[in-house]
Each structure stands twice: as C-alpha cells, then as structure tokens.
C-alpha cells in the first residue's frame, strides 16, 4: 500500500518536472535563438536547415549595431527611463499618500487609476503629438518622458496604494499623538516602511518606458532615438541586418533581465500584491 502510493508520487513528481522542463524549454528557446543569431555571420542566416549554434562567438553584430545608432539608442532610452522612474517614485509616493489621506474612507480609488490604463494609446498619442508640436517639444527628451508618465504614474500610484494599505494605521496615529507633523510621519515612518514596495515600483517605472514603442515611434525623429525605434529601423527595404537586430535586442534586454533576476522576490511581491489587493 505504502509503496504503491510512493511510486505514484514518484511518477507524479517525474511527470511534473517533465512538464516544467517543457515549459522552461518553450519559454527560453526564443532567447536562445536570438542570442545565437546575434553571433552569426552573414552566411549563417538563411540556411536550411537552420543553424542552431554558430561556429564561433562573433561579436561583429554587436559592434555594427552600436555603430549604426545603437550606442545613442541605449543612452537615450536610459535617460528617458531613468527620469521617468524618478518622477514616478517621487510623485507616485507623494500622490499615493496624498490620495489615501484625502480619501480615508477606504473606497477603492486605486481602481480609478486603472481607467487610465484602459485608454488606447493612440487616444493619448495623437493629441500629445499635436500639443508637443505647438510647443516645439517634438523630438526632445521631455516629450517622451511626459508621454510615458501618462501611463507610468497612475500605475505606480496603484501599486503604492496597495503597499500603503499594509501599513497599519495605528502606527501613524501613534506617531501623530507623539507630536509628529504629517510630513514627518510621511518621511520618517511611511517611507522607510515602504522601502520594499518601492523596488517593484522603481523597476516597473523604469521598464515600461525602456520597452515603450508607440510613443517613441511618433515623438522621436533624429535627436532622440530610443532603442525600441532603432531596432526596427535596422530593417531596411530588402536587406534586414538580422544579426544587428539580434545584437541590439540582446543589449536591450540585459538590464531588465539582470535587475529582474536580482530583485525577483520584490518584483513578484509587487505584482502579486497589486492583483491580490486590487
């Protein structure tokens, strides 16, 4: 009886891990393919059968991609993402706290932030395009930063509201009774407690602009060239520089992947938090 159950469990476990393995394979294969492509030389693309592992680690693609605007693209994307992140962190925490203060009666105002997410991006991009044109902001960093803030800031506030709920009100009340001003409560009590929540917010408010495409496509011209626009531009009329596309893409995903894996616990918490509380 016992051995039968044990055997069943073993088979179960084996099947489970087999399935997990398949999931892992499917999830990671595209990355493998892209990285392998980034090391290929011209003759190794359009082959039948396709070449899975190129002969050598050839970094030409990376060099070429950096030369054809990749370098500026990385820098531009970084500037936009970083400043957006700062804005989201500063204004987001203040905004979330302020919102909670104003609306103590626990109504689910976080939900209203989601309404903004429901707006189709074109509804935002078109008017902003016209607005930015009139104030001569097109093809500048502020245009892309502001544009990204439209979607990033409400998302940040929504996440932070979830984290704020975790902070028990008695702690704040105790501090107030002890004679702290509300501002001091914010800076000395709330902020430190919020620290673990700030990480997912920082992460997402950096990643979303870094990966954003439509606004980059419409607002940028020659002075500001984010990554997401430069990569497709490597696709010319009849010749696609696939190895450069792959190379630049690999460079584009390294920051998010590394940060995600290092801070994964906090990020997972952030994601599940929003969903569970939201």
């Amino acid at each position: 009886m016992k051995t039968l159950k044990a055997k069943k469990k073993k088979i179960n476990t084996f099947v489970a891990f087999l399935l997990i393995g398949i999931f892992l394979l499917v999830t990671l294969f595209p990355f493998f393919w892209m990285i392998s492509t980034s090391f290929k030389i011209k003759g190794e693309f359009f082959t039948r059968p396709p070449i899975f592992i190129p002969d050598r680690f050839n970094f030409d693609a990376y060099r070429a991609a950096l030369r054809s605007g990749g370098q500026k693209a990385l820098i531009d994307s970084f500037i936009i993402a970083f400043i957006s992140m700062c804005i989201a962190l500063i204004l987001g925490t203040m905004g979330a706290y302020g919102l909670r203060e104003l609306l103590k009666k626990g109504k689910n105002y976080g939900f209203w932030m989601l309404i903004i997410e429901m707006m189709p991006p074109i509804a935002v991009v078109l008017p902003l395009f016209i607005l930015f044109k009139y104030v001569h902001l097109l093809d500048t960093y502020p245009a892309l930063i502001l544009g990204n803030t439209v979607f990033v800031l409400p998302f940040a506030i929504w996440l932070l509201l979830g984290f704020l709920e975790d902070i028990p009100i008695p702690i704040e009340e105790a501090a107030l009774i002890d004679g702290c001003s509300k501002f001091q409560v914010f800076s000395h009590i709330i902020l430190p407690l919020l620290r673990s929540g700030l990480i997912p917010v920082a992460f997402f408010s950096f990643i979303l602009p870094w990966n954003e495409f439509l606004m980059a496509l419409v607002f940028s011209r020659t002075k500001v060239t984010p990554l997401t626009v430069v990569i497709p531009s490597l696709v010319m009329s009849d010749t696609v520089a696939w190895e450069q596309v792959a190379g630049l893409s690999v460079m584009a995903i390294i920051p998010p992947v590394i940060v995600a894996m290092v801070f994964q616990r906090y990020i997972i918490r952030g994601l599940t938090f929003g969903a569970v509380k939201g």
């Binding site: 302020g98 203060e101 994964q264 969903a275 569970v276």
Partner: protein, 294 residues
C-alpha cells in the same frame, strides 16, 4: 506667520502631496482624452490642405457603416479572448506544477519572469525569426521532429492572427503564473491536507478548493491582461503590419493606421474613443464578476 502656514500645510498635506501628481495626471492624461473626443467630431485630413471642419457624429456613422471596423473589432476580441484563455491555462497549470518545495525553485521562477519584463518589440523580432517559413527553427523542428508540414505562420491569412496570439501568450502567461503562485501561498496547508486525508485526488483538490479560492485574484489579473491585450500593437507592427491582407488588423492597429499612415486625425480619434468604450464595457462586466465572487 510661519506657524500658521505650517499648520495649514499639516492639515492639508493630503492635498499638497497629491497636487503635483494630480496636476500632471490631469494635464497629461485627461487633456489628451478630452481633446480626442473633441477631434472625433471633426474631419481632419492632413493629406489635404483643407483645414479641419466640424462634422458632428459623421465620423461615427461612417465607422459603423464600414465593415473594416467591425472585422477589426472581431479580431481584437479574438486576440483578447483566446489570449486570455491560453495565458490562464498555461500560467495556472505551471503555477500548480511549481507548487512544491524544491531546491532552486526561486531561480527557476525568475527564469519564467523574463518574457514579462522585456520589450514587446524585442519579443516581436525574436518571433519573427522563429516564425520564418523557410529558415526558421519552428518549422524545422515541426518537420524533423514531428514529421509535420511547415506552417505558413505569418503569410497565411487564417494563421497569422493565431501566430500573434501565441507569441503574445508566451510573453504574458508568466504573469498569471506569478499571481497563481502568490495566491497558492495564501491557501492554508490544512485545507489541502484535510482534503487529502479525505481521499481527494489532485484533480479534485484543484477543481474544488484551489480554483474557487484563487478565482478573485485570477479574475483581477485577467482583467488587467484583457485591458492590455486590447492595446496590443508592437507585435502586430513588427510581425505582420496588419497583413497578410487585413487578417491581423485589430481595432487598435486600425486606429494607428488611420492616424499615422493615412493621417485622418478625426476618424482615428473617433475609432479610439469607440475602442475605449468597448474596453470599459468589457472591463465593467469582468469587475462585476469579481465583486460578486468577493
């Protein structure tokens, strides 16, 4: 004087703190929305030197009469619907599978996190290479390992939309996975042990305990995914450009085409307002379901 100011600030700290955020949100979020609604009542064609002119609801009437709009709406719903099912099934199953203690579980989970955090544009290019009919690894594997014929992933009108759904679901199912895992952690072990003692099988436990308990959380994340999938753009732009033919022209993509390919700003604005109404409508239905479950 300063004391008074400080007191006032203290009392109204909520408003003070909220003000800058609020201002930006109003300016940058509400303004575009209001301006879009305003533009949707005009005929504004930038191909022509004519200035924009007020035409009332004519844009909307034209849209309703245009079969291209209705088909694009159908395609959007297809992507959202099938995508939601695929993501849910994949994410949930993997969540259940990973719900056991073993070494390296955290690292494994973080691997699954990767598709979620990288740019959809990059994902689109990855899949473009993989979907290549002649030279891509996918068809090669199908041929050699499964002895199946090559599939025209991106060049056949009946298949292209599905290809997009597959790539999109690959990108986002980890989100459902994470929520599932988070939710599973919240289920007290006693529930499950009690059920096992009572002789329930794994399937029964999943069906009758886990799913009901996780339902609210899963519905919430599905709501988020539905809203996002309506906005799907990057994949379509890179993989198919709306083609072959019109087969991957979703409502969102059509709105972009009308706006930035044909420069009919009025018509495009009207389309985007309609899209918003559709999304809010579907979201409202889902929210009602969530609230009922709660």
């Amino acid at each position: 004087m300063l004391g008074h100011m400080r007191q006032w600030a203290n009392r109204n700290i909520g408003g003070l703190f909220l003000a800058p955020s609020f201002l930006i949100i109003i300016l940058i979020c509400a303004f575009p929305l209001i301006y879009s609604i305003y533009m949707s009542f005009f005929s504004w064609e930038l191909a022509s030197p004519l200035p924009k002119r007020f035409i009332g609801v004519e844009n909307y009437l034209n849209i309703f009469q245009d079969s291209r709009f209705w088909f694009s709406l159908l395609r959007s719903i297809y992507i959202v619907g099938i995508g939601a099912i695929l993501q849910m099934v994949l994410g949930f199953s993997l969540g259940i599978l990973l719900n056991r203690e073993f070494k390296g579980r955290n690292i494994l989970t973080s691997f699954f996190l990767i598709p979620v955090v990288i740019s959809p544009v990059v994902i689109a290019f990855m899949w473009k290479m993989i979907y290549s009919e002649q030279y891509g690894p996918l068809n090669y594997i199908l041929n050699v390992v499964f002895y199946l014929k090559s599939v025209p992933w991106l060049s056949n009108t009946s298949v292209a939309l599905l290809s997009i759904v597959i790539a999109n679901s690959w990108e986002w199912f980890p989100l459902i996975l994470l929520v599932t895992m988070g939710g599973l952690q919240n289920i007290p072990d006693d529930y499950i042990h009690a059920a096992q003692i009572d002789g329930a099988s794994g399937w029964q436990i999943t069906r009758w305990i886990i799913i009901p308990l996780l339902a609210p959380v899963l519905l919430t994340i599905t709501l988020i995914r539905v809203i996002e999938d309506f906005k799907l753009f990057d994949l379509i732009y890179v993989l198919t450009h709306g083609g072959p033919g019109m087969s991957t022209e979703t409502l969102n993509y059509l709105t972009y085409l009308k706006g930035f390919k044909f420069f009919s700003f009025g018509y495009s604005s009207a389309l985007s307002i309609l899209q918003m109404i559709v999304v809010i409508g579907i979201a409202a239905i889902l929210v009602k379901k969530i609230l009922i479950k709660d």
